[in-house]
Symmetry: C2
Subunit: 667 residues, 2 copies
């Protein structure tokens, strides 16, 4: 495995389909993405299997035919049957005895079909006669970059930015193309390229000063079916014009944005739109002018509308100057309370982007109650690929494990149900802060590439399981076989292990403030951030039931009832919803406290087991990959030990109760 190549490795085995079929290529279609699909087919077969693909000018057998459905339909004859239609961005693959056919609903569909076919080829699972039809569940499949123009990345753990350096746009064209390939191959169709906290120089990205360079960047992504999106500062008119306001109802402000949008779209005609973090954590927004989020979003959306752009408005809005003394305020309610009353008030090209949970990408949170509740507002769900609270790409934490549980969450609201099933309906798609940087292996921890891969796969098809993703990614990255199976096994153990040694049972925020790595059990306890656990000598947790902050009641009545009751509340979230005495009896018959001790001892032991599994793989892995991952596991062991011991000591000091099994808890 070469770490840079991710899931496009050089193959040692021959392809599982006849090389003669693969190396004669007929294609039908047109457009930049179509051309690139053809080119990618040839490039990867050459790179991975050393096959030279010859272009032929008619459909032939043995041979391969790829194209856009509408172009292929009149040309394909004989036994081969094309589907009469395909959903947007979908594809059809047919591996015949002497013919391979890949048809795309459109240019992107073809590109995705090509990548999917090549992945299946690498996995060795294709055989003659196989037919595959796929289409993405959601329309918007986005990566968010939190890259700053000084080259740093907010919550980035894999080196500097791919796009910026020293307050300039500066990038390696070849690397951008490689990144675009990685993204497109997992179905990404939109990338926002700057931090939603738009500060300093980044404010000028939407001006003539930077737009020509951004247009060049857009041109690199375009053949991969990826449109750029820009994060904009709501107060831009104040810093970029002589207008001393950003009031969305001020005609001068609205006009400035209209004109600015015109300038931007002259440079990047297919820009996907803007993404905005407003009235959040110190960022400017409509509240400052006594306006609503709808006022703010609609004004910007109107500026984008003539150009076909969309406005993504983040729902991460809460009181970040909260007084810890005040138990009546509950940050978990904030997004719902802020946005639910506005349902139906947003313009047609506004999309709300809400984090999957009500707090902030904690290891375990319930799904945000806005999903399923919003009925007249377009929305996307935000996940997080970069491991902000999940180990900084030092600790291994295979996130599709979490995402699978999110996709399976049943909102139990009206016509909608599971998040996965709502995708493409109530939820238009997904966004996520990505985990890549200039590190040679893209993601710091080489195995964290699986999170990027898994994100694309899961939002393409929310019915996929974490297990399927783990095996697929491992097979592609390490070649199918025992090693890949062992690595998939490690991946699948990693999330439960991480969850066990972290903040217990959905309590959240026992992490080091600011840094968000490692334990600091009371680190947020008296802060302004609204994230408290209120542990005392007898009990822990915030009562979010009807007897407390009422947060549980924001869900559908059935879900509210489930969360309200201790007996029915899922135990991995029980401390999110309930304040419990340490001697509360959990389902396994042990006390809450003993369960905290048990999970923390287990969490560490499971990291040790992953470490041991990894060291047993030594001979079968490329040395640099082996060593780099090993050093991360060593750091993870140390981190897991801190979590285990600090959490256990903390609760031991609070309760004076020793571990039932007599294991060492420090005093």
């Amino acid at each position: 495995m070469k770490e840079y190549d991710c899931w496009f490795q050089e193959q040692t085995e021959k392809p599982c389909l006849n090389a003669e079929i693969l190396s004669r290529l007929f294609s039908a279609g047109e457009g930049a993405v179509f051309n690139n699909a053809v080119s990618e087919y040839r490039f990867i077969l050459k790179k991975s299997w050393g096959l030279n693909v010859e272009k032929v000018n008619k459909i032939s057998a043995p041979g391969t035919t790829i194209g856009i459905l509408s172009y292929l339909a009149p040309l394909v004859t004989g036994d081969v049957k094309l589907p009469p239609a395909l959903p947007a961005e979908g594809f059809y693959i047919r591996a015949g005895a002497d013919q391979l056919l890949i048809a795309g609903a459109d240019e992107r569909g073809l590109l995705y079909g090509v990548y999917r076919f090549l992945a299946l080829l690498a996995l060795g699972g294709l055989k003659a006669g196989d037919e595959i039809t796929e289409a993405p569940a959601g329309r918007l499949r986005m990566l968010n970059h939190w890259d700053n123009m000084d080259g740093t990345i907010e919550r980035g753990y894999a080196g500097p930015s791919l796009f910026y350096k020293d307050n300039r746009i500066e990038y390696d064209r070849e690397r951008i193309v490689d990144y675009a390939r990685l993204a497109a191959s997992i179905g990404i169709n939109c990338i926002s390229i700057n931090n939603v906290n738009v500060r300093r120089e980044a404010k000028r990205l939407i001006t003539e000063e930077c737009l020509p360079e951004l247009a060049e960047l857009a041109a690199l992504f375009r053949p991969f079916g990826i449109r750029l999106m820009l994060a904009v500062n709501f107060a831009s008119p104040k810093s970029l014009s002589t207008i001393d306001s950003a009031d969305p109802l001020d005609p001068a402000v609205a006009n400035w944005w209209k004109e600015q949008a015109g300038i931007i779209y002259r440079h990047i005609p297919d820009l996907a739109g803007f993404i905005v973090k407003a009235d959040s954590e110190g960022e400017s927004g409509p509240f400052q002018y006594g306006r609503t989020h709808a006022d703010g979003a609609n004004m910007l959306a109107a500026a984008l509308k003539p150009h076909g752009g969309e406005l993504v408005w983040r729902c991460f809005v809460y009181d970040c100057r909260q007084d810890w003394r005040d138990h009546s305020v509950d940050r978990a309610r904030a997004a719902y309370d802020n946005f639910m009353p506005l349902d139906g008030k947003f313009a047609g090209n506004v999309i709300l982007q809400a984090k999957f949970g009500p707090l902030d990408f904690q290891v375990r949170e319930p799904v945000m109650p806005l999903f399923g509740a919003l009925e007249k507002t377009r929305c996307v769900m935000e996940l997080q690929i970069t491991q902000e609270y999940t180990g900084h790409q030092i600790d291994l934490c295979f996130l599709p494990w979490l995402w699978e549980s999110i996709m399976n969450f049943d909102t139990r609201r009206g016509f909608k149900s599971r998040i996965g099933e709502m995708t493409g309906k109530g939820i238009e798609g997904f966004a996520a802060v990505v985990n890549v940087g200039l590190d040679r292996n893209w993601t710091g921890h080489t195995l964290a590439q699986a999170n990027l891969y898994g994100y694309g796969r899961m939002i393409w098809n929310p019915a996929i399981t974490a297990k399927e993703i783990a095996h697929e990614w491992s097979g592609l990255s390490f070649g199918p076989g025992k090693t890949a199976e062992a690595i998939a096994g490690i991946l699948l153990k990693s999330y439960p292990a991480y969850e066990k040694y972290n903040a217990p049972f959905g309590i959240c925020f026992m992490v080091t403030p600011g840094l968000h790595y490692g334990p600091n059990i009371e680190g947020y306890e008296f802060s302004q951030w609204g994230t408290y656990h209120r542990a005392d000598r007898n009990a822990i947790g915030v009562d979010r039931t009807s007897g407390g902050t009422g947060y549980a009641g924001l869900y559908s009545p059935e879900n509210a009832e489930i969360f309200e009751q201790r007996a029915t509340c899922p135990e991995n979230l029980i401390l999110f919803f309930h304040r419990l005495d340490y001697d509360y009896k959990m389902k396994n018959g042990e006390t809450l406290l003993q369960n905290i001790y048990d999970t923390h001892f287990e969490g560490y032991d499971e990291v040790k087991a992953m470490y041991d599994t990894w060291t047993a793989l030594k001979g079968g892995l490329d040395e640099p990959v082996y060593n780099s991952v090993l050093s991360r596991f060593e750091r993870q062991l140390s981190n897991a030990r801190e979590w285990r011991d600090q959490i256990n000591t903390y609760f031991y000091r609070k309760t004076g109760v020793t571990d039932k099994k007599g294991r060492k808890i420090y005093d």
Copy 2:
């Protein structure tokens, strides 16, 4: 009061001595400092009282005679008797009916005598017939700057550096002269001008690249009797030469330092020497080469010796990678354990600089046991004027209150006794990180000027009281009178108030890690820094008696006995030495817990009282000074409230015991 002028204010009253006497000046002596003493006499009489001082060429009455004792002795005749001798840097002042006489033991002594006389004149307390003889207790009276070359100041709370900007030496000459005046007027004779953490560009300060500019800076301080000192990086040969070592026993290393010292002294012939932080908090040092601190210090001292330079070696050495689980290690022991075995091993021009307490400038610590124990090693005590742990010059905290208690600490060792009495004997002097920056008022909080003033006064004369200093400073800064008395009253209340709302009873380190402002009660509890309180549901504190870490035993037997016993241990340090149950009965008959509650309620109330006293002064103060101090008091109130409530809530949660007096403790 003009904030920039500190204790050199324009006077509204006429001087309390006859202007005719003051304005005819005869002087005898020579040298740059002598000339400056004459010049300062004239400058300040003009600036403060508008008096033009005429120089006359013989002693006359009415008139003033100032000079160096040896020059004056042959000239003074008649009734006036000069003392036959004066200790180094001392002075003699005699206010006769028609003659004023100021004689210095030497140039510096004269300068100090002039400043002292002018201060007494401003305070209005001089009368004909008064005779004053003074000399400093300690030889080395140093200010340390922790200024970085990028213009920032480590632990600086009063704006950017006076000396550096954008990685260059850059300063306002006039401001440096004003600073030199302030420093000299309180007896400072040495200033180290760069951070002891010598990083990046600062490593080049000792090279030809920077020395010419430093020489110019030295020339500005020289007429004020102030010598510069440089902080050097122990690993300099590695970064500045081709020698790939800093091993103090490597002849190439020693030689490099000899040559470098030669270069430095060609530029600044009166450089006081080097100050070094080695093997501490990540800084390089002799340990890396298996050598001792004596090896390291002596090698550098040898390089300085030919030039008359001294080597100040900091004792702030401890394991900053401590494991919180390990109760056997006690950081409080570190300086003693590291340096006591080396007593007698240091070269004659090495001076150890040890912080006043065994930890790190906490609000309350016992005096470091090295003082009095070191018998064959020269040493200075390090205080801290910059308010790192004492309120960041946002909160008012009059430090002479603390220093007075340090000066009064009786080491009860052999021929030595109280710290104050040992000054000039066992303790050669003092150093302290200063609290000034480019803020117009020098110290951020205008009233924090009192700490700079008080430092100089107290190390000059350790028998002075905080009360005397407070009244003297207030009188000089605000003009003698009711306002000054009220302000002195505020100053004198400020330390006890600060101590009350902070970490209780000598427990230390409940402050926000890194920042060192505001509470974070468990912030250091599981860290690597060795500063733990180990509070559990029943008890708090580290047992540092013979039954615990044995730290108390490092003191003289009498002191050890006092600290060992709960009954005799001073209560403001009881949690430094003892682990106590919350229901431990304190001397006032209340439990430890109730005492914690009480002190924290009182601390806040006392800040409120200071605030009220200040607002009552409104009419009598210059508006800008009033407002700027008021805004600090507002922030202090908020900080004191956080300390009060977080501490009280923390212990309430731990114990479940409510306040006896029924005051509000949040849950």
